[in-house]
């Protein structure tokens, strides 16, 4: 044995410190999130949930109700379609104006550079605000502006997704080959020409594919927005859940699952077709088939707008524009008194706690489901756990929250569980994919050396998949923070509960503070996860 070499693990001190720090941070988070698993097994809660779930059977199949359901389903689809169309109209010009590829100023100094820089910067801030405020909050605001019907949902989707699409469009344009566009700009061409001739040909497929994917997300989002009165399936679900009408709730859930899975499949099919078409003919032009598709799309979009009978025209009168201006203006003078700021700060902490604990639970449960889902424990286990993961994933957090609020009572813990359930579905699938792609050799070698399955996983597989899984978990945590901010609309704690209450009472100044806090959280989550990801990529 060489003297002088440590027989103690030099990493031990660092690990112990990290563990203590984690516990010190986790403990208050658990307290704030009112983490009480015992509530799940509380006899009364079990009975309440049991009774409600028992009422799921048989699902409501009355003719009148099915009529409502069909209409609501169509409305949800139409809201998603109209919303994404609006988002597209907003995103394309914003992306063109903000992407660096098309910035004439990037070529070199010229007249008007300062003004262009200010405009550029201003637009990026606008995009951040559009994206940073959850669509549900936009919907809640627009429900007040438009009062009645799905117009609020369409506009809310249009704005949030407009911001998101614009950002991603700009990124796609920047990531591709930028030389053709640059050449056109240098030859004195305009932004639009440079885009149409220099960028669009190379990026059209990716842009379209992402838009289709977003449409699929919009279907899910438009269901959720119904919970604040923006029409569609969500509104129906909200009523059924509030009245604890199990039969109706189960029928709506079934319709919702079918819709989400269908949208999923349809969007997947469309994107595969796009990819295949992109490989088939690289030359320009859409061809007769493409023309047909475009015509059909236009018809669907038009039908959506007509079906929803949106009252946007009312927006265009000077008077209503003024009213809306007044309304939105009321939020720009937030309540900054110390008492209120204290309350909002606690709301932020609660939101953070809900998201952090919910994500941690989901990581653990995700691993537990991913092992069988990756096919390591046999085919039967694989198929059934994949089914469970899909079901968990298909139901949005907000819907889960209405259920968990029954199981553990209202409050942040219900939010924790709701986030955990949905996120388990998402992470479980991602973890399973990571597992399937992990190199099998370390695993097999340990198995062949007689190690127990759990030990094989911990020593052979976990180190291989840990970085990827951690990256996924961080990414989901970031999403969860945004989501935790709105779970309060159904009574699951956090900033949402404050916002719902204050908005209901027309306390616009107070609501303004809460919305600013949500924006702040969203920006912090953005920055923190970007940093952590960079750190992990480097380490």
């Amino acid at each position: 044995m060489n003297a002088g070499l440590p027989l103690r693990d030099p990493a031990a001190r660092g690990r112990a410190t990290a563990l203590i720090v984690a516990l010190v941070v986790l403990w208050p988070l658990l307290v704030v999130a009112e983490f009480k698993p015992a509530a799940l097994f509380d006899a009364q809660n079990l009975r309440v949930t049991g009774n409600f779930l028992a009422a799921f059977l048989p699902p409501e199949a009355g003719r009148e109700f099915l009529g409502f359901l069909a209409r609501a389903t169509l409305e949800t689809l139409a809201i998603a379609t109209a919303g994404i169309t609006l988002a597209l109209l907003l995103a394309v010009p914003l992306a063109l104006l903000t992407t660096r590829v098309l910035a004439v100023a990037e070529i070199g100094p010229g007249p008007g550079q300062g003004r262009a820089a200010i405009l550029h910067h201003g637009l990026r801030v606008l995009l951040t605000v559009l994206r940073g405020i959850p669509e549900l909050v936009w919907a809640l605001l627009f429900v007040r502006v438009f009062g009645l019907g799905p117009a609020a949902g369409v506009l809310a989707l249009g704005l949030t997704y407009g911001g998101m699409l614009a950002k991603v469009y700009a990124e796609i344009l920047e990531s591709g080959d930028t030389k053709p566009a640059r050449a056109i700009l240098e030859a004195g061409g305009g932004r639009l020409q440079a885009f149409l001739y220099g960028l669009l040909p190379g990026n059209a497929q990716e842009l379209t594919s992402y838009t289709v994917y977003r449409w699929e997300c919009a279907v899910r989002a438009s269901v959720v927005m119904g919970f604040v009165g923006a029409g569609g399936l969500g509104q129906l679900m909200d009523q059924a859940m509030k009245m604890l009408n199990g039969g109706e709730a189960s029928t709506i859930l079934l319709a919702f699952l079918a819709l989400v899975l269908a949208a999923d499949a349809f969007s997947g099919l469309l994107r595969r077709q796009l990819a295949a078409a992109g490989l088939r003919h690289r030359h320009a032009g859409v061809g007769p088939a493409g023309g047909g598709v475009i015509a059909a799309l236009a018809a669907v979009v038009l039908a959506s707008f007509l079906f929803l009978d949106l009252g946007f025209a009312a927006l265009l009168t000077r008077e209503s524009a003024q009213l809306i201006g007044e309304f939105l203006g009321a939020f720009l003078t937030p309540d900054l008194t110390p008492v209120w700021l204290g309350k909002v700060a606690y709301g932020m902490l609660e939101t953070l706690a809900i998201s952090a604990i919910g994500t941690l639970l989901a990581v653990a449960a995700g691993f537990a489901c991913a092992l069988p889902a990756s096919g390591r424990l046999g085919r039967y286990a694989g198929q059934s756990s994949r089914f469970v993961l899909n079901a968990l994933r298909s139901v949005p957090e907000l819907v889960w929250a209405t259920l968990t609020a029954l199981s553990v009572g209202l409050g942040p813990f219900a939010g924790v569980l709701a986030l955990a359930l949905h996120t388990t579905g998402v992470l479980g699938r991602l973890f399973a994919e990571t597992l399937e792609n992990a190199p099998p050799a370390p695993h097999d070698a340990l198995r062949d050396a007689g190690a127990r399955p759990l030990a094989v996983f911990l020593y052979g597989t976990l180190p291989e998949i840990a970085p990827q899984c951690a990256a996924y978990a961080l990414y989901r945590w970031e999403m969860s923070i945004r989501m935790a901010a709105i779970l309060g609309f159904v009574g699951a704690g956090g900033l949402g509960q404050l916002l719902y209450f204050e908005l209901s009472l027309f306390h616009h100044a107070q609501a303004g503070t809460v919305i600013a806090a949500m924006l702040l959280l969203s920006l912090l989550a953005d920055a923190a996860s970007a940093r952590l990801r960079r750190g992990m990529a480097a380490g």
Partner: protein, 276 residues
């Protein structure tokens, strides 16, 4: 008997026969080198001996048990007595060397110890001792992706040393090492087997290395055993016949003529001239 293969064959689902009608037996404590051209079936043979593959024909007995008649836990216990050195060390890049070595005894440790050891290494001294035998003691707390390929291969050997199996199977264990280190590493394995009375079966690409250290040589080609002799009885003709497909030169540690490798326990002395 350490192991017995009787008429063992392995035909893959796609119809390819990797091994056909192999019969081979070894006493406890024997040290055997398996040689033969690439694709001869050496790795398959070792995987059968490690109970990692199930034969499609014939009978197999490992450490006095039929592995494929055992229960799942019985098979696991049997496997914990067999140690395998892989050609490409199956070590996760982000794992630390100490953890990779300690993993050798996962089959022996209770589950709680396996888990606890992830938090604080359970047997730092043991891992250090195994690594020190390969001059790697100072690499104990490095991450596996921070050491060279040759060092990594020796970490793989250290894991098996730490495991202390009754049957050591080494599949091209020194392919990434330079000649001097390769000789040293093979000698460490031979000495460990000898000291503990364990059986060692190593497949080696370098003929000189095999003939220098191993008392018994098994030549494999096209999924069959071509010869099974004491090292001293292996003639150059037999070797040339074995490697006919790979040209007129025999694979050795280095192409240049070299000095005899010191025999470990009275095996044949191989001269550089003989290799030419």
């Amino acid at each position: 008997m350490s192991f017995t293969l009787a008429g063992v064959g392995l035909t893959h689902a796609n119809g390819f026969t990797a091994l056909a009608d192999v019969s081979l037996a070894a006493q406890r404590g024997e040290r055997i080198a398996v040689i033969g051209p690439s694709g001869a079936g050496k790795t398959t043979l070792l995987r059968l001996l490690g109970a990692a593959l199930r034969p499609t024909a014939g009978n197999i007995s490992l450490l006095a048990a039929d592995p494929w008649a055992l229960s799942a836990s019985g098979l696991r216990r049997l496997r914990s007595h067999i140690g395998v050195v892989h050609q490409a060390p199956p070590l996760p890049p982000r794992q630390r060397v100490v953890t990779a070595v300690l993993a050798g005894r996962l089959g022996e440790w209770p589950l709680w110890k396996s888990i606890a050891s992830l938090i604080y290494p359970a047997d730092i001294a043991g891992a250090r001792e195994a690594l020190a035998r390969l001059d790697l003691g100072e690499r104990l707390f490095d991450r596996c992706d921070r050491i060279s390929g040759g060092q990594l291969q020796r970490v793989g050997i250290a894991r098996v040393l730490y495991q202390r199996p009754d049957l050591i199977l080494a599949d091209e264990p020194v392919s990434a090492l330079d000649p001097a280190l390769a000789r040293q590493a093979v000698n460490v394995l031979l000495r460990d087997a000898e000291a503990r009375g364990a059986t060692l079966v190593a497949s080696l690409h370098a003929v000189d290395l095999a003939l220098a250290g191993f008392p018994r040589i098994v030549g494999v080609r096209d999924g069959r055993i071509v010869f099974d002799r004491a090292a001293a009885e292996v003639s150059e003709t037999m070797l040339h016949e074995l490697y006919a497909a790979e040209g007129s030169e025999l694979p050795t540690l280095a192409r240049e003529p070299r000095q005899a490798v010191a025999p470990v326990d009275g095996g044949a002395v191989l001269t550089g001239a003989r290799c030419r």
